[in-house]
């Protein structure tokens, strides 16, 4: 069994207490509080991180289950000096207000764009086959696991479209 979890390219020992969720491991043990706790029950998406490139709700997973995994948190996507294209677009489009859901939104969007690139269909897709077009409805559907009580949704959609366009260009 692997004894460490890699977070943003640094290895950390797995905590001794098996009850520690991946979310609390990140926030309390690693000290990366960019990942937020909004519900601790998989209902809000504030705790979204990337595990081996895929988005998950880190509150729904125990740290002990992630030996050998590579976790990317919001801090691993960019920083104030060097923000990612999505992070920049969120600022430009005011895709947040209080900012508490925002790291989860950005992590989720990062993985979501990859899922679209991979051609994974969603409920909003025209067809189960072929390429997926990045429509507003696709974004809305795929981002619906990330609640924003401030109601920044239209701006989040605009930010994601913008960042995706920039990526493609």
């Amino acid at each position: 069994m692997t004894e460490t979890i890699t977070v943003n390219e640094t290895e950390y020992p797995i905590p001794a207490d098996p009850r520690v969720s991946l979310l609390d491991f990140l926030r309390q043990h690693v000290g990366l509080t960019g990942t937020k706790k909004g519900c601790d029950h998989g209902q809000c998406g504030a705790c979204t991180v990337l595990v081996n490139g895929m988005r998950i709700n880190s509150c729904l997973s125990l740290a002990v289950m992630h030996g050998g995994d590579s976790v990317t948190t919001i801090e691993g996507l960019g920083n104030p000096e060097n923000p990612s294209a999505l992070q920049k677009a969120f600022v430009e489009h005011d895709g947040y207000q209080c900012g508490y859901c925002t790291p989860g939104q950005v992590c989720s969007a990062t993985a979501m764009l990859q899922e679209i690139d991979n051609g994974w269909p969603s409920d909003a897709s025209e067809s189960l086959e072929g390429e997926v077009e990045l429509t507003a409805d696709e974004i809305r559907e795929r981002m619906s696991g990330n609640l924003c009580r401030c109601g920044a949704y239209p701006n989040i959609v605009a930010a994601i479209r913008d960042a995706a366009k920039e990526d493609a260009a």
């Binding site: 207490d17 992070q87 005011d94 207000q97 209080c98 507003a136």
Partner: protein
């Protein structure tokens, strides 16, 4: 230097309009944006403090009675457990907004299911949570608790408004509507759960907390702990949403402080999501009777709005459902009455736009029914009923933009003018329809203080304990100071959320921007005077931009090593009694309703809003978007469900209480009607944080009716209710 301005007259000319920097009102991005999107902005629970213990709140399993025994020994042997905090200072409820004094104590006296009664403190969160579940508590149960508002006795709230004879007006009216509309309770559900870390050094408390109104919270906390305010420092630089639920100090903050003082160690207490639902604030459910009496042209001659809300015994707050109904429409025969039923559910208090959030959706649905009876366009019906003056108090209005919002909104939306008929457009299983509603939200301002320092290095610093709860305070104060002092946004630093700074009004009731903005403005005026003196010109002649005085000298040269600082103190004055001030707006919505499932989807929405000066087009629009999102939730999905036996909240999490998700919110267009309201504040601005949800749900209700003929009288209009109201022939 301190400068005090009491607004006893209109701010007719405002220096802001003469300034040259050109950043105020523009769509400037928030200075707090990068910290937020990169996860580096610290919220209350996220300060790294050595040796910090974790506290978990334990809540009551009875509705009413008393805790007779808390058996600490049942958990003290568990791993990591440090203490069980069972202390008369623990609070049983959250303080109401602007209370400024301790909420109900002690926690051992139980008034509702889920009330905090104790706190377990351990080394780690996991240990504290486990022990909290095992803590043995004994109660003496009082079984006379009434939990259903319809079964409880109600008391009148204030005198209400009675003018003329409404019953007679209803009898003689050519057209009338008499309808009962209900709304369910709501939870603010900010994404950041309530949280605090308290540190006690034996003399002073330093508290990081997630609160909206530090100026009041410090008094509430001091009173709860029986401590001098001078011994407390409250810090809230980032607040993950509040929406009313963090107006007053709530149980976790007091608990963290009590624990830290008892244990002489820093303690963090964070509410679980379920606790945020169960033991902070609910918006009261409402039952509202609307009576509208109109002549043949649709002019109102009678206006009745009676509402029943509820709260715990001893709570002064009553959802002010009738607030905007008092003045929105004409009608010389008026009856407005509010009553409060006393029940044992968790505290009812402010949830975004208390009053109008639920009063306006009821009124505006009734207005739609009236428009149909009169046979005129619903926009036209509103236009015909805008009063010249406050219909009961006979006061003039300050800047009144309802007519403009209605006409401009209708035009931008592409509103089909004319009398309307339901069931005109169908696509497959879906009926399509449109609806509209007016928006109104009373305007408030409050006393506020802020310090502005123009530094020798050519930057400016703004300091106040005012909070930014997502509202954009950092942005607008940056712009105000930058505009007045001729500095670009990156040369202004705004330092908020610390009670060591001059005291602001806090964020709530949409009063933050206008109040603290006025204080910053006043301080900047004083700084400008001193700059002018140095430059050898009068303040009127002083033109500043990009860090330069008009003749080309830089501010740095002019200041010559010395800072200039002023504390601005703004207070509303005599005029606040002489006028009725409100923000106004209009909502337009297109929906589709499924004939077979009753599901409603909002296709598009538009909101037009007038609230005086727009301080930041980007953040103001975001506030409106947020409001419209809440309108959608209120209309279609949000409602607290209580167990009728013990009043416990059955849907106390985000899986069962449905706030709108991304796909529930369509394209939303926002029109900001930039204006000036010299009577509203020194900066001629009004609040906008709540306006966007004051009536929007009715635009959706009216669109549902227009689509499929289902007039749903109970919010939220869930599929079961829509199906039940759908006409046979739909």
């Amino acid at each position: 230097m301190n400068i005090h301005v009491k607004q006893d007259e209109a701010a007719k000319e405002c220096r802001l309009d003469d300034m040259k920097q050109g950043i105020l009102g523009r769509d400037v991005s928030r200075p707090d944006g990068l910290p937020k999107v990169t996860g580096t902005a610290p919220y209350a629970a996220e300060y790294k403090i050595d040796g910090c213990l974790e506290g978990v709140i334990v809540t009551s399993t009875i509705v009413k009675g008393e805790v007779t025994n808390i058996d600490a020994s049942s958990v003290l042997d568990m791993p990591g457990v440090e203490a069980v905090i069972d202390d008369p200072r623990l609070t049983a409820r959250a303080a109401q907004g602007t209370a400024g004094e301790a909420p109900a104590q002690p926690a051992r006296k139980v008034g509702y299911f889920g009330q905090p009664v104790a706190v377990v403190v351990a080394r780690t969160f996991e240990e504290a949570r486990d022990a909290a579940k095992h803590l043995k508590i004994e109660y003496r149960v009082e079984d006379d608790a009434i939990v259903d508002p319809e079964e409880a006795d109600a008391e009148a709230q204030g005198d209400g408004t009675k003018m003329g004879d409404l019953a007679e007006a209803m009898n003689s009216a050519r057209h009338s509507v008499d309808v009962v509309i209900t709304t369910e309770g709501h939870n603010s559900a900010p994404m950041e759960p309530h949280a605090a870390i308290a540190e006690w050094d034996g003399d002073k408390l330093t508290v990081h907390a997630s609160l909206q109104m530090l100026n009041y919270n410090i008094s509430e906390l001091a009173d709860s702990l029986d401590l001098d305010e001078e011994k407390i420092r409250l810090i809230a630089r980032y607040v993950g949403g509040g929406f009313g639920s963090k107006l007053g100090v709530s149980e976790e903050t007091v608990a963290a402080c009590v624990a830290a003082m008892e244990l002489q160690r820093p303690v963090r207490v964070v509410m679980s999501r379920q606790q945020v639902f169960q033991c902070v604030m609910r918006r009261s459910e409402t039952r509202q009777r609307l009576r509208l009496a109109a002549d043949e042209d649709g002019k109102l001659i009678g206006f009745g709005h009676e509402a029943r809300v509820s709260n715990l015994p001893g709570e002064e707050f009553a959802e002010p459902v009738l607030q905007s109904s008092e003045f929105l429409y004409r009608g010389e025969n008026r009856l407005l009455e509010l009553e409060v039923a006393r029940i044992h559910r968790m505290t009812a208090g402010s949830v975004r736009a208390p009053g109008e959030a639920v009063g306006m959706p009821a009124l505006e649905a009734a207005m739609d029914m009236l428009a149909e009876k009169v046979g005129i366009d619903p926009v036209e019906l509103r236009l015909r009923n805008i009063p010249e003056r406050h219909p009961a108090k006979d006061l003039p209005f300050t800047d009144h933009s309802l007519a403009e919002c209605l006409t401009k909104g209708a035009e931008a939306f592409g509103w089909d003018k004319g009398p309307r008929k339901p069931m005109q457009k169908r696509e497959g299983e879906w009926w399509i329809g449109t609806g509209m509603a007016s928006a109104a939200r009373v305007h408030n301002v409050s006393e506020a203080k802020a310090r502005v320092t123009l530094k020798a290095d050519g930057t400016a610093l703004v300091e106040t304990d005012m909070t930014d709860i997502g509202t954009g305070t950092y942005a607008i104060l940056t712009q105000l100071a930058g505009e007045m002092l001729g500095l670009p946004v990156d040369k202004v630093l705004v330092d908020l959320g610390d009670t060591n700074h001059p005291r602001g009004p806090g964020s709530g009731g949409s009063w933050g921007a206008a109040s603290i903005g006025s204080a910053v403005f006043v301080a900047c005026e004083a700084v400008r005077k001193q700059v002018a003196e140095k430059a050898g010109v009068s303040e009127n002649e002083l033109s500043l931009s990009d860090g330069r005085v008009m003749n080309g000298a830089t501010l740095t040269d002019l200041l010559d090593g010395a800072d200039i600082s002023a504390e601005g103190h703004y207070e509303p004055g005599a005029i606040s009694e002489d006028y009725t001030a409100s923000g106004f707006g209009a909502f337009f919505a297109e929906v589709r309703v499924n004939r077979y499932t009753g599901e409603t989807r909002v296709n598009r929405m538009l909101g037009s809003f007038g609230f005086g000066r727009v301080l930041n087009a980007k953040t103001a629009r975001s506030q409106c978007l947020g409001g419209v999102t809440w309108s959608i939730g209120l209309a279609l999905t949000e409602g607290l469900k209580f167990d009728p036996r013990d009043g416990h909240l059955a849907n106390c999490d985000l899986a069962e209480y449905h706030v709108p998700v991304n796909r529930d919110v369509p394209e939303v267009e926002i029109l900001l009607l930039d204006g000036r309201d010299p009577l509203a504040s020194a900066i001629q601005a009004k609040g906008v944080g709540e306006l966007g949800m004051c009536g929007g749900a009715a635009a959706i209700a009216n669109a549902i009716y227009n689509a499929c003929g289902a007039r749903v009288l109970d919010y939220p209009m869930t599929p079961d209710r829509v199906i039940a109201a759908m006409p046979e022939n739909a």
